[in-house]
């Protein structure tokens, strides 16, 4: 495979495109709403209408507005149908012959779509995730070719550094710096790992990226391997994502067949293989050292750092580990240049961020916005606010490691530093909206229960501290706690935050701390007065002077 072959595949694919395209979302959300039957019905209707030469029915990835699925897009007029059923699907085909569509029309120009700025999701809902040709037609693998033929590995690292890309897993570590460290560590064996163990409740960004555009992640990993000098890669994906696993397997097989993966990539001496490792349902395996232990076949428990993975990671070798979304940002940076990427976003947070909008909000789904967009834009304009006339009370970002941001702070720009300042974190991109009926103490209790169940049990503060904190929160909810219990809870938050071994424990108190910061009155309302001691209790009897 050479550049000419790549261009030829692109040209053939584009030439084979028909006049009109019906795009059917086949990501997990729409699939669960019978989207496959919709696709079949559309195909049948196209055949019956004799339009097979003019209309293509294409299964695509996530079309973002998940709450209105199954979604069907029509090109070239770029219209959108929502809640399509196999029954009314045929009517969409009839519009090509002047008929009337029975399926409900969506508004592709609503703020939900118009305010998006797509880099990671640029192909989502457009390319067929099961066909590599579809990805190549959208300039796929051209970045790899450029990195391999026009750049040296240090050039690639320099480009990523210059772009200002930061880790999208949540902590925001500069990606270029991480790549440079792995590249500079000397070893005959190095690894590249893609962390696809997305576990935050309510988060589904990485799943959608893998289901919609798996080749983008693979291309990003190959470029990373080239930059740091690795020959083996692993994608660690959770078993709860069977569709993502299936599409990744297909994508890896296709890339191998085309000589884009394996030995002699693009007819160069560069060799890189990717294997999939499936997680067994432990949240803590999203923590990098626990993830690597799990890949090695050991119990998924974190270990103290240093040594950091860049120095001694998988099988004690230098390892580059990045999140799905981070890798997905790599091909466009190489293709369009670091300066283009650095021009998007804020001073310290570059590029875009994908969020999974969920909870008490009208438009549930996937959004990608430039860094620095305000929470108000996301929640009120794009998300359409709380449904049924309710008002937004708070926004939770960062899952169990994050915090609740009150409605009064909605003008906060979304970037790493601003969210941290509010006691939350950017996190991997889960964004849960709460309305005025939500009890904040219960929210804190829910997340603490999650952390308690997911604590691996290695270090004492996290193992026992989360259980005791959960007990205290349940006690407050049951209106059986006093001010002394709240003090104990706050002390435990301080302990667990500062003494736990890994990120899970260190951030577990965040939902409690942030709700205490902004909604302390809700805690106070549930507290009971201290029990009154009978007169003289707790005092030693004073001996009468003889």
């Amino acid at each position: 495979m050479l550049l000419e072959d790549l261009i030829k595949i692109q040209e053939t694919e584009l030439a084979a495109r028909k006049k009109c395209t019906l795009r059917v979302c086949l990501a997990a959300g729409c699939m669960s709403l019978n989207a496959e039957a919709v696709k079949e019905a559309l195909e049948k209707a196209v055949q019956e209408a004799g339009l097979a030469n003019d209309v293509e029915v294409r299964g695509v990835g996530c079309m973002k507005l998940c709450c209105e699925g199954p979604l069907v897009g029509v090109d070239p007029e770029a219209s959108l149908y929502r809640q399509v059923t196999p029954e009314n699907a045929a009517s969409i085909v009839s519009t090509f012959k002047g008929g009337q569509a029975e399926a409900e029309k969506g508004d592709p120009h609503s703020p939900f779509f118009e305010k998006q700025f797509c880099i990671v999701l640029e192909n989502s809902g457009l390319v067929d995730p099961d066909r590599i040709e579809s990805y190549i037609a959208a300039d796929g693998y051209f970045a790899l070719r450029d990195a391999l033929r026009e750049m040296t590995p240090p050039d690639v690292v320099a480009a990523i550094t210059k772009s200002g890309l930061r880790g999208r897993g949540g902590a925001g570590y500069p990606t270029g710096l991480k790549w440079a460290t792995v590249a500079k560590t000397r070893s005959t064996r190095k690894f590249v790992i893609c962390n696809a163990d997305e576990g935050d409740p309510g988060a589904f960004m990485d799943r959608s990226v893998l289901e919609s555009d798996p080749h983008r992640v693979i291309e990003g990993m190959i470029i990373a391997a080239l930059a740091v000098g690795a020959e083996q890669g692993y994608i660690y994906v959770r078993a709860e994502y069977p569709l993502a696993i299936k599409r990744l397997q297909t994508a890896i097989r296709q890339a191998k067949q085309m000589g884009l993966l394996g030995s002699g990539i693009l007819e160069s001496p560069f060799t890189f293989n990717i294997d999939i490792r499936i997680g067994a349902g432990a949240f803590v395996c999203g923590e990098e050292t626990a993830l690597m232990a799990s890949v090695e076949g050991r119990r998924g428990q974190p270990r103290p750092r240093p040594p950091f993975p860049a120095e001694a990671g998988l099988f004690s070798q230098p390892t580059l580990i990045n999140n799905v979304e981070t890798f997905a940002n790599v091909p466009p940076i190489i293709r369009k240049g670091a300066d283009w990427f650095a021009g998007i976003g804020t001073e310290k947070s570059k590029g875009t961020k994908v969020f999974a909008l969920a909870g008490k909000i009208k438009n549930t789904g996937l959004i990608e916005v430039p860094m620095g967009a305000s929470l108000r834009t996301i929640v009120e304009e794009m998300g359409g606010g709380a449904p049924d006339g309710n008002t937004v009370k708070a926004v939770q970002t960062g899952g169990p490691s994050g915090g609740c941001i009150p409605a009064s702070e909605l003008d906060t720009p979304v970037d790493y530093e601003s969210l941290t300042k509010l006691g939350s974190i950017m996190g991997s991109g889960g964004m849960i909206v709460m309305d005025q009926t939500t009890k904040m103490v219960d929210v804190a209790r829910f997340f603490m229960e999650f952390c308690m169940d997911e604590s691996c049990g290695k270090c004492v503060p996290c193992r026992v501290g989360t259980v005791e904190m959960h007990g205290l929160l349940a006690k407050i909810m049951a209106k059986k706690a006093t001010a002394a219990d709240l003090r104990t809870l706050e002390e435990l938050c301080d302990l667990v935050k500062n003494t736990s071994l890994c990120g899970l424990g260190q951030t577990a108190p965040n939902p409690v701390l942030s709700t205490l910061r902004f909604f302390r009155n809700e805690y106070a309302e549930l507290l009971q007065p201290e029990p009154k001691l009978p007169a003289g209790a707790g005092k030693l009897p004073v001996p009468s002077s003889a």
């Binding site: 432990a282 103290p304 270090c459 193992r463 736990s500």
Partner: protein, 238 residues
């Protein structure tokens, strides 16, 4: 090997390059409390009792896995650390059923000693009182989960000194427990060599020798006879 100079609790200390803060402190006669640490096997930094403050670093660092660095300024016993250590100990006591009065290790227990050292006179947290089993199926040893602190010392000596790999962890979080092989009764665990290293390493009374408590109750009645005989025969009067 180059030497490093650092300050621990205001005292200038020299240490070897590869030493940990814990080793350097111990060489200098400064005690840092530990529970999961076991000489001879890999440190895992799990109990968090050895956390120390290092000037210029906001995070607390576990002394057992932190390597010494030139010019490091370490504080091992600040008020904040003492408070955290006491809380961690209280959490351990609240987690399982630690009743010293009826324990084989009473008086010879690291958890008990640490609690006394840190002035822990009561536990502020709700006791979990979990239902834990006692495994007495092994010919020589017994395991009482009620007293286990999940430090993992038995597991590490089993894997890395004996090389048997009998001891493992099952479950997660507070439901973790030490198991033998694939959760067999200890007596049925085929990989166990009965070497007893796990019992040697256990900081509490969770692992013990069979008959240890019974052994304490054997009576040496011959002594009575000896005394009576000695008195009668006036053997003690010179």
């Amino acid at each position: 090997m180059a030497a490093k100079t650092l300050t621990i609790d205001g005292q200038m200390v020299s240490a070897e390059e590869q030493q940990t803060v814990l080793e350097a402190a111990r060489d200098a006669g400064i005690r840092i409390p530990t529970l999961c640490h076991q000489e001879g096997v890999m440190a895992i930094g799990a109990c968090r009792l050895c956390l120390v403050e290092v000037a210029g670093i906001t995070k607390l660092l576990p002394a057992c896995v932190t390597k010494v660095q030139e010019g490091m300024d370490v504080k091992t016993n600040t008020e904040r650390l003492q408070k955290y250590r006491r809380m961690i100990l209280e959490l351990l006591f609240a987690e399982r059923n630690h009743v010293c009065a009826v324990c084989v290790s009473n008086g010879n227990c690291e958890l008990q000693s640490l609690a006394m050292e840190h002035g822990m006179d009561h536990v502020r947290y709700d006791y979990r009182c979990p239902k834990c089993g006692v495994d007495l199926t092994h010919r020589l040893f017994g395991a009482d989960d009620n007293r286990c602190v999940l430090c993992g010392r038995c597991m590490r000596v089993c894997w890395y000194i004996e090389g048997a790999g009998t001891k493992n962890v099952s479950g997660r979080g507070v439901n973790s427990s030490i198991i033998n092989d694939l959760h067999q009764p200890w007596g049925a665990a085929e990989s166990c060599t009965s070497c007893g290293k796990c019992v040697l390493s256990c900081p509490t009374g969770a692992l013990f020798y069979q008959g240890a408590t019974v052994g304490e109750m054997t009576r040496d009645r011959s002594k009575l006879e000896f005394i009576v005989t000695a008195r009668e025969k006036k053997q003690w009067i010179a």
